[in-house]
Symmetry: D2
Subunit: 285 residues, 4 copies
Amino acid sequence: MSNNVKIAVIGGDLRQLAAAKLFADNGIETAIYGFDLYKGDFSSVTKCMTPADAMHGSSAVILPLPCTVDKININAPLHDGKIVLDDLLHRMTGEQILCGGMINIDRPNTYDYYEREELKILNAIPTAEGAIAIALDELPITLHGAKVTILGYGRIGKVLAERLKGLGCIITVAARKDSDLALCESSSYKPIHMRLLSDAVSDADVIFNTVPSVILNEAILDYIDLDTLIIDLAGRPGGVDFEAAKKLGLKVIWALSLPGKVAPVTAGGIIYKTVNNILKQEGVL
Amino acid sequence: MSNNVKIAVIGGDLRQLAAAKLFADNGIETAIYGFDLYKGDFSSVTKCMTPADAMHGSSAVILPLPCTVDKININAPLHDGKIVLDDLLHRMTGEQILCGGMINIDRPNTYDYYEREELKILNAIPTAEGAIAIALDELPITLHGAKVTILGYGRIGKVLAERLKGLGCIITVAARKDSDLALCESSSYKPIHMRLLSDAVSDADVIFNTVPSVILNEAILDYIDLDTLIIDLAGRPGGVDFEAAKKLGLKVIWALSLPGKVAPVTAGGIIYKTVNNILKQEGVL
Amino acid sequence: MSNNVKIAVIGGDLRQLAAAKLFADNGIETAIYGFDLYKGDFSSVTKCMTPADAMHGSSAVILPLPCTVDKININAPLHDGKIVLDDLLHRMTGEQILCGGMINIDRPNTYDYYEREELKILNAIPTAEGAIAIALDELPITLHGAKVTILGYGRIGKVLAERLKGLGCIITVAARKDSDLALCESSSYKPIHMRLLSDAVSDADVIFNTVPSVILNEAILDYIDLDTLIIDLAGRPGGVDFEAAKKLGLKVIWALSLPGKVAPVTAGGIIYKTVNNILKQEGVL
Amino acid sequence: MSNNVKIAVIGGDLRQLAAAKLFADNGIETAIYGFDLYKGDFSSVTKCMTPADAMHGSSAVILPLPCTVDKININAPLHDGKIVLDDLLHRMTGEQILCGGMINIDRPNTYDYYEREELKILNAIPTAEGAIAIALDELPITLHGAKVTILGYGRIGKVLAERLKGLGCIITVAARKDSDLALCESSSYKPIHMRLLSDAVSDADVIFNTVPSVILNEAILDYIDLDTLIIDLAGRPGGVDFEAAKKLGLKVIWALSLPGKVAPVTAGGIIYKTVNNILKQEGVL
């Protein structure tokens, strides 16, 4: 199905490398650049001396997640040197497809794989596992029998709740929509409307927040027990008034970007699948 | 919270009666009409001699699901006689709220509770249980270890898959959207794209269809083994070419309206919750 | 691995036939007698005209479960005629292995497969599914959210509880041993000591009994609500004082021998596996 | 039920303190000695100046787990000084009950709570959670979708498998008994006989050993992939030839005594429950 297709993977961490290996293992010629600090096995990918070599003849160029941190260079923690984003863009032909995570470039044939729903759904799995690992490491009690409150019932809330149920937690979910509360009931979690947030948090052993807005403000934090562990999984600005929590003596862990940290190989596999879907949709594969 | 609020429940089956009892048990004055054939306990509801008595002073009038079958009379299988819908509508004041299932009336303050997302979500539970009961009754093998294919991954597909997993089935889900396929993967079901439908059905012990369009047409039915049981949960027109299936000698069970049949008391509780949400939203409760 | 081994399957119902087909499908020459009323497919088994033909050259003879009902003839509901057990025994050579269910014969090389632990464990699965089917068919509420009490936490209790949890039941288990109560806690069921049996039954929507002694006697039955469904899975004498229950107006279903009734093909597969283990252990396979 | 009963808790770590607090919270006068390094809250227990004060009038004396490390002093990591075991024994009256973990003393009315089945069953929960935490922390992939092999299907194997299933692992269990293999099948794990151990380990992402004998010897280790993580949960001598594993470059983590390390409060609660059962059985409570 992918005769003579070549792709280039330029910059990134173990995730991009894992994605590159998966493309190669699936029979696609895969050229990489920007991984010279990595000492492990490269499977059947082709290491190139320059970005141009990697890009030459490629139908698609895959950039990291995030694509860039400083808006100038490609994010390449495994590279000893800089890879200037603009240089790379100038070398691309109009037909080449460009895929990146959080990519913010005004160019046709450019796709932000981080915005794809299937990536967000699958990333919820390593996020949930990372959150569970934190709870297991930090709590002096078992998750079995622990009273857990999950704030928000989107992608992460759902995946996290399902796994915590398997570990024997007693689960309360706070959500806003009647339909989400019905879903919680269907999965046998105790549903509480967000407007009763203080009830939802006041008796928990551990609280997982997934809502990216400061819902655990000073007034609500006041209802939380000093023994309760708060794990905030929400992106900036987070869901906790961290200052107020500190003053009250509450333990809060803000856990960001878990997939790449706790399971880079799986996270790379998710990027592979998502980019694969994009390339199939665009007729490249 | 509901001082002096009265509601009227007129017509319907055990579900409406169960809903009426729940309103009464929750402290709301509840008047009913149209249940004279029912011989059981009426809890604290008030049986009225006429619809007018029941409606008098009520803030809301609750009609059955479906509201009417013949478009003239209210659907009242537990009533010995007719209740003409138009008579009832003429007696209502403008402020009275009217709630019915599949109600198709052009009148302000009228709500179709069957269209509410939370009812659809919660109804998926008795639907799934009813579908499982059929499979348990019909198959000569256990569901444990059985190869199950679910077509469609909406509300019913999700709830059904979760329960079948708990029973030890080996589950394949056919869906169309990449995001739904990712959700399946997250729950450890084998995802197959709808365009490979023949692969999804060809090795199944039982197939549950939830898609309300004839996807199991003659060409696809041809891939299905004669031992395979097909349970169609989709509303009209169903998801199976029943004629073609019959010719091929395939066993198909078209299971409609399961909630009211398999768990009328629970289904009544779901109507109660949904109407309750409507009345709260409208400021009646 | 089983060159030139022949076995004979004589008498029985669909289970024995399913077991015979599995032996044949696994490359063992399989001769059968006593299934002439069966109109379906016989796969690669050899139908014989006499028991002697089937037994001739066989390393093992497999009899039904139960082996006999009247203690004279082999239990053969699919046979039009009688097969006298003693005739058959007289024709057997000393080296031939005899396997039967509930077989009570004083003869060397004779094995009761019904007494094997692996059969009892695997039979718990169709038993549990059959019990769940009864509950689904009988209750006017969903199992989801239903309060279920299981009496006894042996093989059936464990398998049943695990599946009911997957269906969203709220589960209480009454058991006698501290270690069983600890196991229940580990699986998140509410454990109650058997000496507090009245507490365990008084608030249940459905009670499943697995203890083969009359623990639901008149005194305890008095604590049970009239709406509660009692499903007795215990072998004779059962676990319920049926007379007393009837007087109180309680609904009791005594469900015996579920595996052969609800899932004969699976139950036959379990007999196949168990006999297979016996024959391997004895060096025949 | 426990009028005027007093107990003494002497020595130990956070687990003993948690147990002591639970006795006090349940209305039993609880005197402690040996926790002066602990700076937290003591709830309603009575801190004593000498072991004699604590023991005076007590119906039972509770010692740590393990009771002693050096066979002379009581194991008291939270105590600044020594508590000589023999001194304490000499002060005990004949009627006083003595409970300790791994206690090896020839004295009437002495109970080793570590030998109680319910403690072993409940301790399997924090052990399983600790093992899962290690896997989550060490693996570069998610447990979801990971191929997991569990060696042994006793208390820990069962509890661990149940939780890993909830996390979406693909589970193989190696066990010796046909009945255990049948149990695995019933829970939908792939059962492999111990005699085919090399098959069970050769394709795993992570192996959990629960068998306390060196089954992962040099010959078997040779079948294991270099990427595979081995977590040994077996008590001394462990289940792995650690020398051979090191030579082969395999990653092995020997995780001992997890309950006290990962969940001391829960582990203390388990000791409380177990001692409570002993004291009830002996008529003290």
